[in-house]
Amino acid sequence: MLENLLEFLVKALVDEPDQVNITEVQQDQATTYEVRVAPNDLGKVIGKQGRIANALRTVTKAAAMKHKRKVYVEIIA
């Protein structure tokens, strides 16, 4: 559910949306979203001083609030 918003935003930010891959890793208390993008797109999802990556985390956390789950977003090259 949450992944959809994250996926939409990440795909819209990059040059190669086909290479975006998001996997959901469930732990006891938390869910981690592992975001993989093309190497050339890494800067676009991290942003200056990590501002884009932080905004993605904030948005994903807010969207997860109604499920009362802790979420993490990890960006992997």
Binding site: G47, R51, I52, T58
Partner: protein
């Protein structure tokens, strides 16, 4: 349906029919797409188009609890949408997102806060630096105090830590 209701509805639809430029329509389309793909019960409503700002309210069942509670999540989503919008074309349009009337509540809060701090600055005859605020919120502070002959305001520092200073006018 009463006449009054009909009138209000007519007024609403004519408001929504505000003629949007092509760039503004592109921005609206982006927010609408985000809503429909978000997996949440939400829709995009145009509130106003003033200058470069296109204000769009998110409405729907999931909106108040998710986006209306704190400005942080709303500002983050807004920042991402603007980054996406400006990626290919240097559009002049800036998306301003609202949810559950957060912007209006925040505006009133900031205006009151500005007046309160300005009073203190006058009493102490000493300038006061506020906490970092985003550009559109700094503007609310500047505007709120623009007509006060005893006060001047300016901003200091670099984004995202740029802050307003309220000072006695020399």
């Amino acid at each position: 349906m009463s006449e009054l209701q009909e009138d209000t509805e007519a007024a609403h639809s004519s408001e929504n029919a505000v003629a949007l430029s092509e760039a503004e329509l592109a921005a609206l389309k982006l927010v609408e797409e985000m809503c429909s793909r978000s997996g949440q019960a939400m829709e995009a409503n145009v509130v106003s188009a003033q200058g470069e700002y296109l204000t769009i309210a998110l409405v729907g069942e999931d909106v108040p609890a998710t986006w209306g509670r704190s400005g942080q999540a709303l500002d983050a989503l807004q920042m991402l949408l603007n980054a996406i919008l400006h990626r290919h074309n240097p559009s002049e349009v800036r998306i301003m997102l609202d949810a559950d009337n957060y912007r209006q509540r925040r505006r009133e809060l900031l205006q009151n806060y500005a007046l309160q701090i300005a009073d203190e600055v006058k009493q102490r005859n000493e300038e006061c630096e506020l906490e970092p605020l985003p550009a559109h919120e700094r503007r609310i502070i500047h505007t709120a105090l623009a007509d006060d002959p005893a006060i001047s305001t300016y901003s200091e520092g670099n984004e995202p830590a740029r802050r307003v200073v309220i000072a006695p006018r020399q």
